[in-house]
Subunit: 308 residues, 2 copies
């Protein structure tokens, strides 16, 4: 089994959408990435930090899904990172209501000894210095290093971010962030400039408008599945990243062609994530449902033109 190390937040989220609201529920980038990647039976490990207020059942749940939690630090006298947000009617925009960093403020990530030879490293959205610290603890470069980030770090830690970007194989970023990072409106040009910063592969996420994968002169596009309703978009991007890295770790094939499949798997898993609040749907999705959805993606995109 391939090893997959995931660094990212494990958190409490409180979410409000036009369909309802939740109290503090299980959230965080590493949580969604781990739960999504667990579909592929990889040897996954989560590097994160929580407070003494974090329920043991949540940690157990991650373990039950096959995630190693030796790298999940519990600061008994600290409080878990808390995020609260409210989505607008279009579900594409949201207001952040609360961001309590709590134990995340002083997070020193520690990669467990037995995961220092990981094949795949997934750097979830976090301060770039924390992402860097994880890279620095791994003596032999993993086969694949994937980075997710967001505009907050472009605004507040750009130099640190650029350093990390220069060291990864794949970056996942949304369309507005790609534009902000490069000052280019065209996503084709933006992807080109980001590749010049380091990553050989650039994934630009466009939410309900799908995702683009750029590599050298080539590009691949995966649509989002058209859904009757998006119930809660929280975690969709991380679920996508978990499906992407989980599939690649399982298949051990890091070619552009196989990344296309990984993007489709990521999109399929993300399409489940948004159907219910938080992690609820992704925790309960069956293998059969995933296969049905992959078939839907085929039906959605495959055509048969004979070019002559």
């Amino acid at each position: 089994m391939s090893k997959l190390v995931i660094v990212g937040t494990v958190a409490f989220d409180a979410i409000e959408t036009p369909f309802g609201k939740t109290d503090k529920i299980l959230g965080g980038a590493a949580t969604y990435i781990g739960l999504s990647a667990s579909q592929f039976n990889v040897d996954g490990a989560i590097i994160s930090v929580v407070g003494g207020d974090f329920p043991k059942e949540y940690i157990q749940l991650l373990e039950d899904k096959g995630m190693d939690v030796k790298g999940l630090q519990v600061i008994e006298d600290g409080k878990t990172f808390f995020w609260s947000g409210k989505y607008h009617n279009d579900m594409n925009t949201r207001d952040t209501l609360v961001t309590d960093l709590n134990v995340l403020a002083d997070f020193n990530p520690i990669v467990p000894e037995e995961y220092k030879d990981t094949e795949v490293l997934m750097l979830g959205n976090l301060h770039p210095l924390v992402q860097q610290a994880v890279i620095d603890q791994i003596p032999k470069r993993p086969k694949l290093v994937v980075l997710d980030t967001m505009n907050f770090w472009m605004d507040n830690a750009l130099d640190d971010l650029l350093k990390v970007i220069s060291k990864v194989d794949v970056i996942t970023i949304n369309d507005e962030e790609a534009r902000q990072l490069t000052g280019e409106y065209s996503l084709v040009t933006a992807a080109q400039k980001i590749k010049e910063m380091g990553p050989e592969y650039v994934v630009i996420k466009k939410g309900e408008n799908g995702a683009l994968l750029f590599h050298k002169g080539e590009v691949f596009f995966a649509p989002a599945l058209p859904l009757k309703e998006v119930f809660d978009p929280t975690g969709a991007g991380d679920t996508f990243a978990g499906g992407f890295t989980g599939y690649l770790a399982k298949t051990k094939d890091y070619s552009f062609d196989n990344m296309k499949n990984a993007i489709i798997y990521g999109s399929a898993l993300a399409s489940f994530c948004v159907e219910k609040f938080g992690t609820e749907r992704i925790l309960n999705v069956s293998r059969k449902e995933i296969h049905q959805r992959l078939q839907q993606f085929k039906n959605l995109t495959q055509f048969d033109i004979q070019i002559n």
Copy 2:
């Protein structure tokens, strides 16, 4: 050769984009549809009206591309329909600066006798009463009737529009218009409601985010080709419609599966249209370039997951 009757505007456009501006150039929905459909060697006819100020060379140009112009009325003492617009920096939104209906205000479409047995009828964006008048002149229902429309007619002639919608097989409409017509935010639900109004097939155009084809419980998605720059989006939707109907008229296969190919052809031709001002690019695109672009669409969308 299959017959394809196209009703729509033939016009002068003056366009301003961040890349430059044009004086009055050749434009109009029927012009773009006809030029695009002419790629398929169909027996096409344009039903429209122009004024005495319309250059004979433009009419010759349509004829040279194989379009019959017996149904193109020339009102010698009238002026040609004129539209002027300015695109914003994102190229997805525009302001209309001038709309001079001129001869279009009293347009009575006349379908030439030899085209009353047309196989495909393309109703380009126009007053729904004009679209209706064309339907009424064709005694035997064509194999396929395709309707394009816009929000202006929803605001100003909704009842007439709904009557036409009830009589067509395919409607092409953009995402915001689909939402306006149905009051539904979800495009899946909006398409469902539009199907209940009559059309068996609903094409929702999302500009740079591609197009969706809905039929019964199924859906197909064609992305727009990611381009370094969109030079001028004018006519892209009509070029799409021309490729769609031209391909279907040529192949005479009006199944859902073949419509997928038609959508891809439409998208490929539209991707050329936006590369230069007005009709310039679509007038000069070669068969080889089209085939190369179809291959790009394959590379962009096709993947090979074995589902087991």
